[in-house]
Amino acid sequence: MPLPPSIYHLSSSHLRLDGRRWNELRRLTAQISTQASADGSSYLEMGNTKVLCTVTGPSEGKGGGRRGDEDSMSVDVRVNVAGFAGMDRKRVGRGDRRITELQNTISSAFSSTLFTHLYPHSTISLQIHILSLDGSLLAASLNAATLALIDAGVPMRDYLVACTAGLTPPSGRGDGDDMDPLLDLNGSEETEVPFLTVGTGGAGGGDVGGGGGWV
């Protein structure tokens, strides 16, 4: 059987599990300068995904043992998922493959957005704390990081903004014409639908990375 009858096609109304339509984002709220002690900080909610981000630096030296280009600043990203963030209370270790991948994606995204050549021999570190996890983790992290970097006053080419996009399973009625695109997937949708995180800067834009696939 291809898929259990999914709620998307129960009715002509194409509603999602949480009552949204295909093109609606969850409620998004954000604040900057939430942590006075940090060089830059932000707090961002996309629905029930809640992310806190602090920026330290840029500071001299190569921190975190990461090797980088001597002529430019390296971007060090640490993602920490709180034990109470998900449905199961469990610790997500630092060595978790998905977390490492997430860190690398964020790091490479900002390496190309920030004016890293202005700070040779130095490192900027981003600490991202996931307080609550309900899908679109990469997108929320990128958005929070952008805000924190703005707060820290780090020069950048453009704001990096991200959102997830998915495609609903076909209902089996036609040849896929009835597959709806979906924006801003929540946790339960991510387990059901193939998706992609798209990040864009105002001027250029482009695909930051695919955190996609069938989880």
Binding site: H14, G19, G172
Partner: protein, 989 residues
Amino acid sequence: MTSLKRSVADPYTSNILSKVFVRSTKIGKVQKVVRELYLRQDIPCSSRLCAACLAIAPGDANGVVAPFILSEKPAGTKSFPEGHYLVPDTNALLNGMDLFEQTSGFYDVIILQTVLDELRNRSLPLYNRVIGLTKSDDKHVYVFFNDFRLETYVVREPGETINDRNDRAVRRAVSWYREHLQNSLNTSKNPKQCPAILMLSDDKENLRKAKAENLNACSLSTYVSGLENADRLLDMINASRQIQESRSSAADKLYPDYLSLPKMMTGIRAGTLHQGIFNVSPYNYLEGSVHVPAFDKSLLILGRENSNRAVSGDAVVVEVLPKTQWKAPSTKIIEEETLNKNENAETEDGEGEAVVTEQERRALQEEVRKTQGKSIEGRPQPTARVVGVIKRNWRQYVGHIDSSSSSAGSQGRKQQTVFLIPMDKRIPKIRLRTRQADELLGKRVLVTIDSWDQDSRYPMGHFVRSLGDLETKGAETEALLLEYDVQYRPFPKGVLDCLPHEGHDWKVPASLTDSGWKGRKDLRDLLVCSIDPVGCQDIDDALHARPLPNGNFEIGVHIADVSHFVKPNNAMDAEASIRGTTVYLVDKRIDMLPMLLGTDLCSLKPYVERYAFSVLWEITKDAEIINSSFTKSVIRSREAFSYEQAQLRIDDKSQKDDLTQGMRTLLMLSKKLRRKRMDAGALNLASPEVRVQTESETSDPVDVKTKELLDTNSLVEEFMLLANISVAGKIYESFPQTALLRRHAPPPKSNFEELANQLKTKRGHSLRTESSKALADSLDTCVDPTEPFFNTLIRIMATRCMMSAEYFCSGTQSYPEFRHYGLASEIYTHFTSPIRRYADLVAHRQLAAAIEYEQLDVSLHSKPKLEEVCKNINVRHRNAQMAGRASVEYYVGQALKGRIIEEEGSVMKVFSNGFVVFVPRFGIEGLIRLGDLATPEPEGTFDAEEYVLRVSGSVKLEVELFQKVTVRISDVKEESTGKRKIKLELIKP
């Protein structure tokens, strides 16, 4: 300093809710789920009367607004002449789903999201049926998302139960609909009549509250009473509730209580309880068994009390009984129909009834006496009792009304209780309340089980529909299809829309630059032919062979390229995945794919060009494979042979053309391949297949013949096996986690214990079962020069000890578990019959992706999806086989009708009060009871050690296992049921 605060002016705060609930996972962990809920005001009411909603209804991503569903002038009843929209609550659907599906009423129905969610938790099959209804164009069933609409969302109040909250949500939606429609019609320019909104509920409290709130509401039975043919419709309402009300609570409990779910879970985890599927013995309805992982042998469940209302197929939890109560499996035939023949179905209230009837008690006691009399320190098996049911596997059952249970000639349409005797002997009689008992006598009837209460010996059910007179071809065939859950309805329009629009005129494009040729090899010059049974229309496979300059051969197996026509995830694919396989009955074929594809566009018919998926090998004279390759191709078959024609052509020395030479090469190589396979330990378990010859016009059976096996049969088989094995290796290499493969587990040793013991005591043969090779070899030695059939009989019996082969997704097993025991192959899949098996179609897609012909659909990358596919096709495959067998059985019965034939047979099982004879010529197995030998019933003593039944008294004789006997075969009509049965009588022991 700043502090974290929610932004103050959030305009949507009132529309966003957090739903928090706790759920426990399968492994017993508790999760707290927090889910957001966005309430909105743009969910349409979907009434064609409503202009307001039409204006705001949003479209999907393509801007398409779905058409409104509820009609302008819905049907009404006497009480609602203006017409009505029906709003059932969960109970109404649980009790009366069959009503909503029938066509004489129940149009324009609003299904609330609340109800749908509740229904999904209560019964998944019912939920799926409702979904099916929403998809039908003529029923006008609309799902209203009341829990997403601001005005109809209801917050659970403190102290309110979830049920009460849901009932309130239903009433809120009903009242909203009424006001909304009235407002909408009042503002429109040409006011029309506003249909009533009628809530259907079987919950008294809910009805009372609805009345208090001035809503239109009534119970299902009240509503149905106001319709035409109310009698028939009333029978379709779930019986359990009505009965419960009529019966006093003081009624004695016949069966023990079930344990609570948490208790069972704790017990299972602690190892004191066990979970498994309850199966009932086909010979003895009082004996069930449950296989649980903790025990090697199945646990026996003896008697009604221990099986505690479990029905064959249910997932149950059992408790093992103390060792003193362990028993050997029954040696006695006990059939419910003959034992409790004249029971009265009506004795429900009043004095109550015993769980075990007097006759049953006697039968069981005799059993105990006899087994204890024997010195069977012999093999007692652990016994157990059912303490709870995890999941019922109740479906719809086909059967006939026990005429003795109906008070015949009762005038008028009084409701009475009757027994339905299911076709499936493992299912208990079902108690049925009906007003149409007289009409239903002598009919095939479809019913469902509603409940099985502690104070009722039999389950309670209700009538669904009548299939027609017993023994008419139409009714029996439909009964069979329903019993085996074969999807036999015509293909819906959505599926037919997926067919190529050229229809039968579709052709392989002439131009090689056409996109259809992309990635395809032109193999039209090869001398390809197909070999199939006579009259085969859906030709899946074709072959060719030609010599290579280096002395080796090029062999090709060409399979219909079905995946070119059936794209993943469209309606046709969905339908095929549900059907899973084509089902072959004697006079009928129920296709997996529409005819146009199966018998024409995909079918590798001779003389025309067809798309194919080819497997090509270079093979030496000694049948060593040098290399193999896979390609999509275009072929032109030169000839479609039947097995007989091919055999004649090969044997005809005067034929020297290349096509015949190719076939000879194939035959030569196939024999070598077969030898190799046998040497590796492949089993030859072929049992005689019976073919029913029918008159072509009327398809009335004329004669029964055993199928002949020719060399050309195994020619085709060998190369198909080879292709399947080659493809299995290839797709596993490319998709180690998600290849769809087929495995055949080695049978547990204990499965053969009985047979090995029987062979040892009766014939002195020892059966070795440590490997398939050993088994194959020792089966070869089981011959009796005086009885040519003996070896076949043993093979049939050995086959029944085997596990069944199954489809699986490669990521779910470790490599050694992939092994196909029967074929002695490390890895195996199904590739060669994509027209008639869904598994093959999946393998085609995976192979096409493996050779980079096309991209693999995402659904075939996902292990859980594939597991689901496998689960379904495994069930469908088994059902199709059983349906086919049952169909042959039915036609053999018809062919024997009115005839009396004497035939030889062999005793294949001995009981303490009868024995089973297998008649190879007709492939039938029949029971001969002691009572059939003479009247009065002779005495029988059963020697379980020696497998001998000594009969004394009115006749004297001895019957032993494997004995050759002559029997007289006739068919008799049973007086009580009007059912025809094949009867065997012993003539010569």
